[in-house]
């Protein structure tokens, strides 16, 4: 009889029985590895981080502020040469402001056409022109994205607008995640009557046209920045609550939760250590898809004139402005639209990638 004793089967890959402890790979790290292999999602993440950084710090380096108007510039196209007009005020101190080369002609309305063009051509070549009140000369300053109808630098406004849009996206999503996760977790874990009541509330809110609610809130309480966060967050949590509730209910009957109950652990510990970490995956996935949703809603509100009050800008507000002057100055629509949609794209790619990474069964691998 050759009885074999139970031996250490050894871990799957290593096979080493060495003394040093073998560090495990958590599912989070596994997911991170999978995400890194997904080029599209990773570039989404990098792009999004770059965009956040640009919007956060960019306005400090553009050399312009978002609210300073230069009416004489009007809507000047991107990179259009700017002419400095230096003149004397009553007190004698020189006054400087810029005008776009294309609008220079308006400055000499009483001159004959040929003269106007000659002067404009000269200045464009770097010469200085002087009339009775002003001196005209070419400057080195340029507006990369041009200016809007009030002569404000569009690049600065797009970046500052990005700050608002992203902040609304994040803050409102945070509000919706907090409410949604708690609401769903309580409903799912408690079950019975509590669940019934909580989920009927969600059903009722679902049935209401939520854009209308936000509009009503904004109209009643005025166009307030903080209120915008809260209002959008408060209507975006419904789906989150449903997702979390469903997850908690299916987890509740898993054997590892029964095992935790068998150990005599407190309910608090069971929820915090055993349930919540296991619903974070779907929550993260849904969150990355909620951010663009919220940003779109903000844009809709701004489009309706219910967004942030001027002179503050947001991508939604800029799009609204741009759409109005689309025929004459397309760049005013083009740049905000480019920034907005590329950010939405990157978030959606990231969200898709996260779903594949956190839930490998859903994708073929």
């Amino acid at each position: 009889m050759s009885q074999t004793a139970i031996s250490f089967p050894g871990a799957r890959d290593t096979g080493t029985h060495a003394e040093e402890a073998v560090a495990g790979t958590s599912l989070w790290r596994d997911a991170w590895y999978r995400l890194q292999r997904n080029k599209l999602a990773l570039s989404g993440l990098v792009f999004f981080l770059a965009m956040t950084l640009a919007c956060g710090l960019g306005p400090l380096f553009t050399g312009y502020t978002y609210e300073r108007t230069e009416l004489s510039l009007k809507a000047s196209a991107p990179l259009q040469p700017i002419i400095e007009r230096v003149g004397a005020r009553k007190a004698g101190e020189p006054r400087r402001d810029g005008i776009a080369l294309s609008t220079l002609e308006d400055e000499f309305l009483d001159k004959p056409e040929a003269d106007r063009q000659a002067i404009a051509g000269k200045i464009a070549h770097g010469d200085t022109y002087r009339d009775s009140r002003y001196t005209y000369q070419l400057t080195s300053r340029r507006h990369l994205f041009g200016t809007d109808a009030l002569g404000r630098d569009l690049l600065t406004r797009v970046l500052v607008g990005g700050r608002i849009s992203l902040a609304v996206g994040f803050a409102a999503t945070l509000v919706s995640v907090i409410i949604g996760v708690l609401w769903g977790a309580v409903a799912g874990f408690a079950g019975g009557k509590v669940d019934l009541v909580l989920m009927r509330v969600v059903d009722v809110l679902y049935a209401l046209p939520f854009t209308v609610i936000v509009i009503l809130l904004m109209v009643t309480f005025g166009r307030n920045f903080i209120l915008l966060f809260v209002a959008i967050g408060a209507v975006e949590w419904l789906t989150m609550a449903r997702i979390v509730r469903g997850q908690i209910i299916s987890l509740k009957h898993q054997e590892f939760v029964e095992a935790a109950v068998s150990l005599g652990l407190s309910e608090r510990r069971i929820i915090l250590r055993h349930l919540i970490p296991n619903v974070l995956g779907p929550v993260i996935i849904y969150t990355t898809l909620t951010v663009p949703d919220v940003m779109l809603l903000e844009a809709v509100l701004s489009f309706l004139g219910l967004g942030v009050p001027p002179p503050m800008s947001s991508w939604g507000a800029l799009l609204d402005d741009g759409a109005r002057t689309m025929e004459t100055s397309l760049w005013l629509l083009l740049f905000p639209a480019l920034f907005f949609s590329s950010t939405l794209f990157s978030l959606n790619f990231l969200g898709d990638g996260l779903r594949d990474a956190l839930d490998p069964q859903s994708s073929k691998d």
């Binding site: 250490f8 871990a11 790979t25 054997e255 005599g264």
Partner: protein, 326 residues
């Protein structure tokens, strides 16, 4: 002196509701219906039955994961079913469970170390060094290298996970272990490793165990006594070898005879009793003896009165009125 574990007329019923707005009780599922059982300290009781017979519900009722509708569970003389939830929680480290599916019974987000630390500390907080030492000892006991404690469950195979689950069940130093189909999800060659481990642990630690399985040959090998369950009731109980080799109850006979023997010579000689149909729904159990619709020896009296679980031979009890005749 009272028994170590005593189940006294234990009943677990689930009400069935129909409708969502106007909920009305449509009946009850008598998942566990009057189970009378006792276990000595250090005894291994095998519980066999087919799916839906209530063996898992019985396990969870003894564990008080489901509170019983009637009857009582006495552990060392204390009636667990009388305790309030807080008191039950305080008692829980004394009785632990091993689950069927080693892929579902471990929290995927916790390392082996964390899962075991949590289980050990149900008996009180420990210093880090002592804790790690204890975890290493536990892992060695169940046959896993201690240097694997920082790994996550998904990095282990099914058999290894079941070892981890066993280590977790042992961690609070329980007196009673309930193992609900602990080897059913495992391959044959891994099964025997786990069975050996469980037997060794029970012997070394004086554990009392209820071993639940649908596989009668595993149960025969591992347990001292076997209880046969059908539709929420006990059909027969007695010493393991006797129940399998000379079953009294017609249901036990059918159950034993249905198992193919991995030996062609004995297999050819096997007397087969093939039952007709499937087990009936526990929502609407048959009258009288619950086994009568499938029983080859049924007679009129069986359909009327429910037979009691009575001593038919020394140490052997069965719930059938025709045992003397067949």
């Amino acid at each position: 002196m009272s028994r170590f574990l005593e189940l006294n007329e234990l009943k677990t019923y689930f009400p069935i509701f129909l409708g969502t707005v106007f909920r009305r009780a449509a009946g009850t599922v008598k998942a566990v219906d009057g189970i009378q059982l006792d276990l000595e300290k250090g005894e291994i009781l095998g519980l066999v039955g087919e799916s839906g017979c209530g063996k898992s519900t019985l396990a969870r009722t003894v564990m008080q994961l489901i509170r019983n509708t009637g009857g009582a569970v006495y552990l060392e003389g204390r009636n667990l079913s009388e305790l309030n939830p807080r008191q039950v929680r305080a008692e829980r480290p004394n009785f632990q469970m091993i689950f069927q599916d080693p892929y579902a019974s471990l929290n995927p987000r916790m390392t082996v170390h964390d899962a075991l630390a949590e289980a050990i500390q149900t008996r009180g907080k420990l210093r880090k060094a002592v804790l790690t030492q204890k975890i290493a000892e536990l892992l060695t006991t169940v046959g896993l290298p201690p240097n694997q404690m920082r790994r996550y469950p998904h990095e282990f195979s099914g058999g290894q996970r079941q070892r981890i689950a066993i280590a977790r069940a042992l961690a609070p130093e329980p007196k009673l272990i309930i193992a609900d189909e602990p080897v059913s999800a495992l391959d044959v060659s891994i099964q025997s490793q786990i069975i050996n481990l469980l037997l060794r642990l029970c012997r070394e630690r004086q554990l009392t165990m209820i071993f639940i399985s649908h596989d009668i040959s595993v149960v025969k090998y591992i347990s001292d006594r076997i209880a046969v369950m059908y539709l929420g009731r006990l059909m027969e109980i007695g010493p393991a070898a006797a129940v399998v080799e000379t079953p009294l109850h017609p249901y036990t006979r059918a159950l034993v005879s249905a198992v193919p023997i991995p030996d062609p010579i004995r297999e050819r000689a096997r007397q087969r009793i093939i039952l007709q149909g499937d087990p009936p729904s526990p929502l609407d159990p048959p009258s009288g003896c619950v086994f009568h619709p499938r029983c080859p020896y049924v007679k009129e009296a069986c359909k009327r009165a429910r037979p009691a679980l009575e001593e038919k031979l020394p140490q052997r009890r069965a719930a059938c009125i025709r045992i003397g005749e067949i």
